[in-house]
């Protein structure tokens, strides 16, 4: 609030200057908080680009994983393939199930205690640490099947994504006006048809944008994958046979290494991962911007 807002008669009251000074200090502090948060963001992204760009080239992006951490050669090809496969499979599992779950909560369960409870638990489930999901898949899948593979990693990521997709879907369905449902039902459509043909299409852009953000977060997860996907030095395009690897796992492994060559690879993989994640995020923003424009 600036001085010239027609309350000047208050200026005469005692303490006015002090109060204004206090408010100005608070305002400066508030702006400062934002600036403080910008600094690490700029530093991290800047440094990852600076270190990563000097490592990345075609050989690095397609090469096999170095057999020895101190070897100066070696790439992250298998990890890029692994990340795309594992995240892709997780998306294929979590998005349809999450959308269906959101549909149940909002279209079928609305008003019931059970639906409110499931919705609440989905919220709580978004807070379950990713390492716990990794341990869950390790104890529930890996110990029973006695093998580590990409699919186990996909299951762990899907468990992380599921509640996010459910909640996004539910919130987007809430934005669809009831009149559209009523019109469809009045024309004789059954509920399933109404949902699939009328309600869901109206909510799709919002759901897609939310799902892409969930994918972006899942692609960057390390902890759920560490114990369940095993390991590979060469590209493994199978989700079910043999171990696999992923970009975050490579970054972690190389970051924990004492050798400079390995640390260089960690920066290169970090830049690759960030670019990948940003692409998903930007795609989500574009979809949601289009959505907003369509809604007017």
């Amino acid at each position: 609030m600036t001085a010239a807002t027609g309350v000047s008669h208050l200026g005469a009251s005692p303490g006015r200057g002090l109060r204004k000074a206090k408010s100005s200090i608070a305002t400066v502090t508030i702006v400062g908080a934002f600036v403080v948060a910008l600094i690490p963001l700029a530093l991290i992204i800047g440094y990852v680009i600076f270190r990563g760009a000097s490592v990345i080239n075609a050989d690095f992006l397609t090469g096999e994983i170095a057999y020895s951490p101190r070897s100066p050669s070696g790439g992250i090809g298998p990890a890029i393939v692994g990340t795309l496969l594992i995240t892709g499979a997780a998306t294929a599992l979590a998005v349809p199930l999450g959308v269906l779950g959101g549909i149940w909560i909002h279209e079928y369960g609305a008003g019931s205690r059970l639906a409110a409870f499931v919705r609440f638990l989905a919220d709580v489930m978004t807070g379950v640490p990713s390492i716990v999901m990794g341990l869950f898949i390790y104890t529930f899948i890996v110990l029973n099947t006695k093998q580590t593979n990409g699919f186990a990693g996909a299951l762990a990521l899907a468990c992380l994504m599921l509640p996010v997709v459910i909640r996004t879907t539910e919130e987007m369905l809430r934005l669809v006006p009831d009149e559209q449902r009523e019109a469809s039902m009045a024309l004789g459509s059954r509920k399933a048809r109404t949902i699939m043909r009328v309600v869901l299409p109206a909510a799709t852009p919002g759901i897609v944008s939310g799902a892409l953000l969930a994918v972006a977060r899942a692609a960057g997860e390390t902890a759920p994958l560490l114990f369940v996907i095993g390991f590979t030095f060469t590209t493994n395009s199978s989700l079910f046979t043999g171990g696999n690897t992923a970009l975050p796992v490579q970054i972690y492994g190389n970051a924990a290494s004492a050798f400079e060559a390995a640390q260089d690879r960690a920066w290169g993989a970090a830049l690759t991962l960030i670019v990948l994640v940003f692409l998903f995020t930007i795609a989500a923003r574009i979809v949601s911007a289009l959505f907003v424009r369509k809604q007017g």
Binding site: F34, A37, I131, V132, F136, T139, G220, L273
Partner: protein, 331 residues
């Protein structure tokens, strides 16, 4: 939304006319059941997590009993698994993280809702959300190789400056060789929880009725007085739940912490610059070489993490739901 209020899918909403040859009723019913099953998946998964991890952790729980929680003696070679130091480490780094992150997050949220001109709001939100998309392993990498080397001399300066001073001398002590410590892990964690705390408090602040804010201003309040008098009282439970959700994030964060905390078990100290270990970080750093009861004890730490974050999450979400109801936003 109010079309169909009947609870679970026992009956398809079949019109009476469809008795003889119900076109599409099979699909309709199947779809309803499919959706129901997907909704129940949340319950099933949460139940399975608890069951499956507890089952594997049971040998360790049985061997240690309550000592698992209250004894500070983690020594796999001697078969001793008292995990108190990890609980301590988790709490310490979470508290450091929240002490730093909450004021900054509140500031950013106020900046967006009360201070920034409207054209700047969207970009600010985007930038903070961008912070949330950086993978935690990248925070760990940056923290370990850029932030830690930079901050080490600062730690040493602080330790020297405050040595001998009663409380601060202890807090700012324990200078580690590599700066990997409770403090470093806490600071990086703070950066990581800022986006989530900001986004929740921002939403809460945004629901302050305009009439109350305008009323305060009309009575001659300065902006800060308006924030204190109209925005904060309105947002109290929202802020609490944002802090709790941030706490849940901090407690469960794994990869960044394992790269930054120094991985030193059995360290319970008030010296913030000392290396230590947290529940999540010790799971990752020891799981690979662990077997038998050791592995079982690490899974037990996972069970503990799960239960703690569930409790924190339930309280936080409960508070949000309550404040929504209070505002008439019941869903």
């Amino acid at each position: 939304m109010a079309l169909d209020l009947q609870p679970p899918p026992t009956r398809p909403s079949a019109p009476r006319l469809a008795d003889e040859r119900p076109p599409g009723i099979v699909v309709d019913t199947a779809f309803r059941w499919l959706a129901f099953a997907a909704g129940m998946l949340v319950l099933v998964i949460l139940g399975l997590i608890l069951y499956s991890t507890t089952e594997q952790a049971w040998p360790a729980f049985q061997a240690e009993g309550i000592d698992f929680l209250i004894k500070n003696d983690w020594n796999p070679a001697a078969g001793s698994y008292g995990a108190l130091s990890f609980v301590f480490g988790t709490l310490l780094i979470s508290v450091i993280a929240l002490l730093i992150a909450v004021p900054i997050s509140l500031g950013i949220a106020l900046f967006v809702t009360e201070v920034a001109p409207s054209w700047l709001r969207r970009p600010v939100i985007t930038v903070i959300d961008l912070l949330a998309t950086i993978p935690s392993v990248v925070f760990g990498l940056w923290g370990a190789y850029v932030f830690a080397p930079w901050v080490l001399p600062r730690y040493e300066d602080l330790a020297n400056a405050f040595s001998g001073v009663p409380v601060l001398g202890t807090l700012f002590n324990g200078t580690p060789v590599s700066a990997r410590s409770f403090m470093t892990a806490g600071i990086i964690l703070a950066i990581m929880v800022i986006p989530i705390v900001t986004s929740i408090t921002r939403e809460v602040f945004a629901t302050t009725p305009a009439a109350q804010k305008e009323g305060a201003m009309a009575l001659g309040a300065t902006r800060w007085e308006m924030i204190r008098g109209a925005v904060f009282p309105h947002a109290r439970s929202g802020i609490t739940s944002a802090v709790l959700i941030g706490l849940g994030r901090a407690i469960g964060e794994t990869i960044a912490v394992v790269l930054l905390i120094g991985s030193l078990p059995n360290k319970i100290t008030a010296e913030l610059f000392s290396p230590g270990d947290s529940m999540a970080s010790v799971i990752v750093s020891q799981f690979g070489e662990a077997s038998g009861t050791h592995r079982s004890a690490l899974i037990g730490l996972g069970v503990l993490l799960f239960i703690i974050t569930l409790i924190v999450g339930v309280i936080a979400r409960g508070l949000i739901a309550r404040s929504d109801r209070k505002l008439g936003l019941a869903r």
